[in-house]
């Protein structure tokens, strides 16, 4: 799980072009949207594509994303659950 969280942080930084952000800047439970990393709606769509492309998980209902993408912690938990299902 720790490895997955680190991997997610690296992917978020790279795929969302967060130029001045390092892995150490993202806490496991820091909010990704709003006051946290300040991601926007296009970033949310990119995260949905990333789940599909890199983890083979298709989000049937994009509204689910609100909870799944709350933080790196919630993303990792969701991916782990889906992989184990």
């Amino acid at each position: 799980m720790t490895d997955l969280k680190l991997e997610l942080k690296e992917k978020i930084i790279e795929q969302l072009n967060l130029e001045d952000v390092s892995v150490d800047d993202i806490g496991d439970s820091d909010p990704l949207f709003g006051e946290g990393l300040g991601l926007d709606s296009i970033d949310a769509l990119e995260l949905i594509v990333m789940l599909d492309k890199d983890y083979g998980i298709k989000l049937a209902d994009p509204k689910e994303g609100r909870q799944i993408f709350e933080s790196v912690e919630t993303m990792a938990t969701y991916i782990t659950q889906q992989k184990g299902a």
């Binding site: 967060l18 300040g38 769509l45 990119e46």
Partner: protein, 201 residues
């Protein structure tokens, strides 16, 4: 009598060099566009994190427009840009992401830039402009329609100033030439002068 307008300021980004009113403000040995414009962003102290999420055309437009607009208090500034390649550079990136059926992963962050006028939106957001704007695609730089459009906007009082010019980028070739038309300025607003500045800046 018809009011005469003026060119208040102008800038150019081409061949690894950025100039403002004819004076070089940034130069680099970097021949590739993305590292060049990133270096310019940092050197010119642009401070706009969204820059890194933009496509190449919007990055070019943002740096060029920032040179002219960053110290401007007037916000009723219309935007009239033009280019040759439209958004082809980004269109190709998008096409590459969808051409294989078993690897079909279009990137939303790329797709949103598959129109050339998106760069006008980026300029408007950065400088909080709620003004009229237009983007035209020509085979090559043409001063005539830009002059007519800018004069019309000012004459009809649709804007206090107009940011006009050429914003072309395709396959590592980039050429940005922007100028601000206003009531007062350093040159008379004419097709001849604009062509001259485009040829010599």
């Amino acid at each position: 009598m018809m009011e005469k307008y003026h060119i208040e300021s102008y800038c150019r980004i081409k061949d690894q060099r950025i100039s403002l009113n004819g004076a070089t403000v940034f130069e680099s040995a970097e021949t590739n566009f993305l590292p060049f414009i990133k270096e310019a962003y940092k050197t010119l102290d642009t401070q706009y994190p969204k820059f890194f999420k933009m496509d190449a055309l919007s990055k070019l437009a943002l740096i060029a427009s920032d040179l002219l607009l960053k110290n401007m208090t007037e916000k009723n500034i219309a935007l009239v840009l033009s280019n040759r390649a439209a958004s082809l550079d980004t269109d190709r990136r998008h096409q590459q992401s969808i051409e294989e059926a078993d690897h079909y992963y279009p990137s939303p962050a790329v797709f949103v830039y598959t129109l050339p006028n998106i760069c006008l939106g980026e300029i408007s957001i950065k400088h909080r402009l709620f003004s009229e704007n237009g983007f035209f695609v020509f085979e090559q730089f043409r001063a005539d329609p830009l002059v007519d459009y800018a004069d019309g906007l000012l004459k009809m009082q649709r804007a206090e100033k107009v940011l006009c010019g050429w914003m072309d980028l395709d396959n590592e070739k980039y050429d940005a030439f922007l100028y601000v038309v206003a009531k007062n300025g350093i040159f008379t607003h004419s097709k001849k002068k604009i062509n001259q500045l485009y040829q010599t800046s």
